[in-house]
Symmetry: C2
Subunit: 324 residues, 2 copies
């Protein structure tokens, strides 16, 4: 099980390498929701998402063990995180990515020096491709969330939130974070509960990909319909991780949901009020809040915005809501 | 003349009220320019620009003197800064704004509880309107840059840059900041030179509005052509301030320029690589760098991005460059 000490170690390992992303606040959003909303903005992290944290923590440990090359499968953000971490540490990186990932994510991964292997998200199993490459080319497999070192790295998001709330003298009532496999929210929950035991923590997922919400309700792994589709490409995982679900069952209050339409509206609000580009999967937390899935009136709510790697067309779609 | 102690006092006054905006960095931009570029991102400041800093510093001092209402003239960012500061301090605010200011700026100013009085930017003198309102309604005039308390407030941008560079262990070779009346760059230059005396500081201005560049070269106030137009609505001032030019003559190395086209390209790059919305006037610093006005190869360059209040159509224009 993940211990707070793992997150502290990751935090020290990341010091000077990751960005301590700001906790943003908007008068307009506060007024609209009648409470105080603090946004932890991981779109401003290196490579445009929190994934760099876990990747750097993991690769740093692998490098210490003498590993010189890694392989990862990823819809795009883990890919970029691993690619940059490998570049910084002088390691080889091979990344297995879905052919329909946003072009910005594929291009950025290549630009960071990684070799990209594309596959079909709906007919091929990325785990098998990753395992085969690991064996064939003697690379260490870096999983996106089912790895304690990865979860500990993502947990530094929660550790920074605690530090930033302490500076502001605030005690959070609740926290919402986007959830795919559960690495980010698991690590974050452990870090936040270390200091704020009463804070209620909620996962946010796209409609049709609410496996975590249902798994939390039932206490066992629930799986999404393989035919389901969502614009939230970063978090359309089939089921919670083996390591993350037990942590989430211990630390999470419940799971929230948002539609693609609500996600686009949340993206527009981020652009307009927070001046930040947030990608669909990174914004589902705010979308669930705007959708009324959780009451934030007269409360202090932390909303994690987990990434910002959206293609132009997606931004254009979001901007059609901005004038409203 | 502005003293470093003024900026330190402003910093203490702003503590807990302004956001310590992040210093962002992008691998892609560093690679492209061959040096290390650190972006001080004031688009993420409250009200979407650095102007809140000077406004809050000034209004806090006025409130201590018993003043209960203020009037300001502004193209939009000073307006929002004064409006929010007045709201936080329980003061009345009347703002004189050009009728062609971006709708986002006018709407935000009203939403912050200020009374907005519109005027024609090209036929009416905002100073006269402001002075008349001050007399008629017994309000204190809050100038946008020709006021030492305002300049000291904006100088906290420089103070934070110094702190952030110290944490990174970096010594800056040069700094570029957008320049309208000169409040931001004057305060920032004094703060930065206090710690980094060798840092070369450059103003950036839109083509046709290079009054500061020419004033620096000649040593006296130069004025722009009244017929000139630019998309950089935040910084199309006619000539440097009375208080700011002497400071700029002492601290600035030279003035840089960028075209509207270059500004749009810089906006696109900010969206793509920094995940932040920067308005035209806020981005002219990066635009001048991309335009080759200054060599940043193998150097450490700080670029101030001063605001992010761009309307949707402006973002759309910028995004046409993003695919390139």
């Amino acid at each position: 099980m993940l211990k707070y000490a793992h997150i502290l170690s990751a935090f020290n390992r990341l010091d000077g390498h990751s960005i301590r992303t700001p906790l943003l606040e908007s008068e307009a959003i506060n007024q609209r929701l009648g409470g105080r909303i603090l946004f932890k903005c991981e779109a401003l992290q290196r490579t445009g998402s929190f994934k760099f944290r876990g990747a750097y923590n993991k690769l740093r440990l692998l490098a210490d063990e003498g590993v010189s090359g890694v392989v990862a499968y990823s819809s795009g953000n883990h890919a970029q995180g691993v690619a940059l971490a490998a570049q910084l540490l002088g390691m080889v990186a091979v990344i297995v990515m879905p052919a329909d990932a946003p072009a910005i994510k594929i291009n950025n991964t290549r630009r960071l020096g990684a070799e990209v292997v594309l596959y079909d998200r709906y007919t091929q199993a990325r785990e098998e491709i990753g395992d085969r490459l690991a064996t064939q080319r003697n690379l260490s497999l870096v999983k996106p969330y089912d790895d304690l070192d990865i979860i500990a790295g993502q947990g530094t998001v929660g550790l920074e939130i605690v530090q930033q709330l302490n500076i502001l003298g605030l005690t959070p009532d609740q926290l919402i974070a986007p959830c795919g496999g559960g690495g980010l929210i698991s690590g974050t929950a452990v870090a936040v509960h270390q200091s704020f035991a009463e804070c209620q923590i909620f996962s946010a997922e796209p409609e049709h990909f609410d496996d975590t919400a249902r798994s939390l309700a039932r206490g066992t792994h629930q799986v999404n319909d393989a035919q389901a589709r969502s614009i939230c490409d970063a978090i359309v995982t089939p089921t919670p991780g083996q390591l993350t679900l037990p942590i989430m069952l211990e630390h999470l209050h419940a799971g929230l949901r948002a539609t693609d339409q609500q996600v686009l509206q949340a993206m527009a609000l981020c652009m307009q009020e927070l001046k930040t580009i947030v990608e669909p999967g990174g914004c589902v937390s705010l979308a669930a809040l705007l959708a009324g899935e959780l009451d934030s009136a007269n409360k202090i709510t932390v909303v994690v915005l987990s990434g910002g790697n959206a293609d132009n067309d997606m931004l254009q779609s979001a901007m059609t809501f901005q004038a409203n």
